[in-house]
């Protein structure tokens, strides 16, 4: 064990440090340097990977239910739309902003934003419907500058920059293990061709031959979304590493 003792300063060093302390005190009295930002007049600049409010692109969604299945807070419910397909709704009263839904979306239909300040009048309105997720929520911005934290040596400094921080980000979809659908038990396949019908990209094709049905998966174009795996009644399809 090491005993902590007061540093053994010389008289000259003592005087130097006292002068520095008095200088800092005078400077802080005239222009105080705070380490907190005065929201909402200024906003902190968030990294592009910030896990905030989600926006949704229905054109990319393939109704695979992946987001609803993975949600650890059970905040996502799939709701039937007029076109007969199911799209997610998010209950922000339950959401823990883990963005597992976004990471698991095979098609990149859910997109992150840096928006973290959305207010609701009551709990019921926190259930955000699909239509409300397409556009980012309307927020009144009072901020004229944004704030960045800079680590200078051992000190944390705050830097104010004039201008607005862009809250919408355009991140490439997260990288994931490349997987493709594949048949693990061809003899148990009934040949119902539901997989062909549900495939959004036309990757699974069947052709009727004289004595049976030939099924083909175009591995080059398969995105590994898993819709066919989910729908196969005999569970003979499985996602395998490409």
């Amino acid at each position: 064990m090491r005993k902590v003792v007061a540093p053994d300063y010389t008289v000259f060093e003592h005087v130097k440090r006292h002068v520095e302390a008095v200088k800092t005190a005078i400077r802080e009295a005239i222009i105080p340097e705070s380490v907190t930002c005065s929201y909402p007049k200024e906003r902190r600049k968030m990294p592009a990977s910030f896990r905030g409010y989600l926006i949704f692109d229905p054109d990319r969604c393939i109704s695979c239910f992946g987001c609803a299945f993975i949600c650890p807070a059970n905040a996502i419910r799939m709701k039937e739309a007029e076109d007969g397909r199911y799209y997610p709704t998010i209950d922000y009263g339950k959401c823990i902003f883990c963005h597992f839904c976004l990471d698991s979306c095979p098609e990149g239909a859910l997109k992150p934003t840096k928006i973290h300040d959305v207010a609701y009048r009551d709990l019921d309105r926190m259930l955000t419907l699909t239509e409300e997720m397409i556009e980012p929520p309307e927020i009144i911005r009072e901020d004229k500058r944004y704030v960045e934290y800079v680590i200078d040596g051992r000190d944390l400094h705050l830097r104010r920059v004039d201008g607005e921080d862009e809250l919408l980000v355009d991140l490439p979809p997260p990288s994931k293990v490349e997987r493709i659908a594949s048949c693990i038990d061809p003899e148990s396949c009934t040949g119902c061709r539901i997989c062909e019908e549900v495939c959004e990209h036309g990757v699974i094709r069947s052709s009727v031959e004289e004595d049976g049905v030939r099924m083909v998966i175009d591995s080059e174009r398969c995105t590994g979304c898993g819709l066919c795996v989910k729908e196969c009644s005999m569970r003979v399809l499985r996602l395998v590493r490409r």
């Binding site: 038990d185 119902c192 030939r214």
Partner: protein, 345 residues
């Protein structure tokens, strides 16, 4: 685990050209009265569209939903029907009474299934229970504590939708599945196993029941009500020595089985299989003393289970007499000839 990106599925010959496979099945099996209502077709149907409508198997919205894959025709035990009859091959013919469970006779169906679960051979067994109005309900049995409801054992004499549950059980299981059923259900399972490896690997134990006939629920209940038997008051039903015995809370009603012939389903009248010759083990009451179940061990898996029961001393074993079964085996074959002769006339 690897997989295939290209594979081929064998399609059976179409019985009716330019029509759905199910139309062919309907014309050849259901409308001709051959259908045993085993629901093997409903088990395999990829869109789960086949069900029982007015005591007949049907696919009401098939024009819209049917995928025309032909799986129903591939698995139907009555399509291209080859009747089974006789005692069949067996390794051992014995009689036994369970020391742990009570049942119709010796409680051996429950005993065999629970023992197979305890051995780790299977992790779920499909059982038929009933509600208070004697409507059959299918149960997934995982351990013996579920038996406390008390309605799993005992004969119900009505068709149950066991096979409709089988696919669910097979997809959920980790070790294997056990099934109990009448000879038609056993034949359906065997045909499923022949056609689809999924069932071949995962259905490990098939217990067949001795069966002369089974009835549609509504018909049997209205028949019993005419005899003054209320389903709520019923405790046990049994057929012994040509008599139907209904034990009720306040007494017994007996009548001759022959009277039930008027509600005999046509699918049963063409069946000649009394002992479930295709099962792993057949269990019934005929062929042993009262209070004992007759156990006919046919398959390797059932032999292991019986050896386990013997080793643990879970059951008391007695003498079985195969000769006692001859009468009912001959009765079912004879009924089949009468029926087919009537059809020709």
């Amino acid at each position: 685990m690897g997989g295939l990106l290209e594979w081929k599925v064998r399609a059976p010959d179409k019985p009716m050209k330019d029509r759905l496979y199910f139309d062919g099945l309907k014309a050849n099996v259901i409308d001709t009265g051959l259908c045993s209502r085993c629901l093997t077709c409903a088990c395999i149907c990829p869109v789960d569209g086949i069900r029982v409508v007015d005591d007949k198997v049907d696919f009401p919205d098939r024009e819209e939903r049917c995928r025309d894959c032909g799986a129903c025709i591939r698995v139907c035990p009555r399509f291209d029907y080859r009747p089974k009859y006789g005692m069949g091959d067996y390794l051992e013919f014995t009689a036994a009474r369970s020391k742990r469970f009570s049942g119709q006779d010796g409680g051996m169906v429950t005993e065999i299934m629970i023992s197979a679960i305890e051995m780790g051979m299977i992790d779920r067994g499909l059982f038929v229970g009933r509600d208070e109005r004697w409507r059959p309900q299918v149960f997934h049995l995982h351990d013996s504590s579920q038996l406390e409801v008390g309605t799993l054992s005992g004969t119900k004499y009505t068709f149950a939708t066991v096979l409709k549950e089988l696919k669910k059980a097979v997809l959920l299981t980790r070790n294997g599945v056990g099934v109990v059923g009448t000879p038609c259900i056993v034949s359906g399972v065997r045909k499923l196993q022949m056609e689809f490896p999924l069932f071949r690997d995962r259905v490990r134990l098939v217990i067949g029941l001795f069966c002369t006939e089974n009835f549609h629920y509504d018909e049997l209940m209205s028949f019993l009500e005419k005899k003054g038997i209320k389903p709520e008051m019923l405790i046990k039903t049994d057929i012994t020595k040509g008599r139907f015995i209904a034990t009720m809370v306040d007494g017994e009603v007996k009548f001759k089985v022959k009277e039930l012939e008027e509600i005999l389903p046509s699918g049963c009248s063409v069946c000649t299989d009394f002992t479930a010759v295709e099962s792993d083990v057949s269990v019934g009451s005929v062929g042993s003393e009262p209070g004992f179940s007759t156990v006919v061990v046919r398959g390797k898996s059932a032999e292991e289970v019986i050896a386990y029961i013997r080793e643990k001393g879970y059951a008391e074993f007695g003498e079985g007499d195969p000769g006692q079964l001859d009468f009912l085996i001959d009765y079912k074959v004879g009924r089949f000839y009468v029926k087919t002769k009537d059809d020709k006339d």
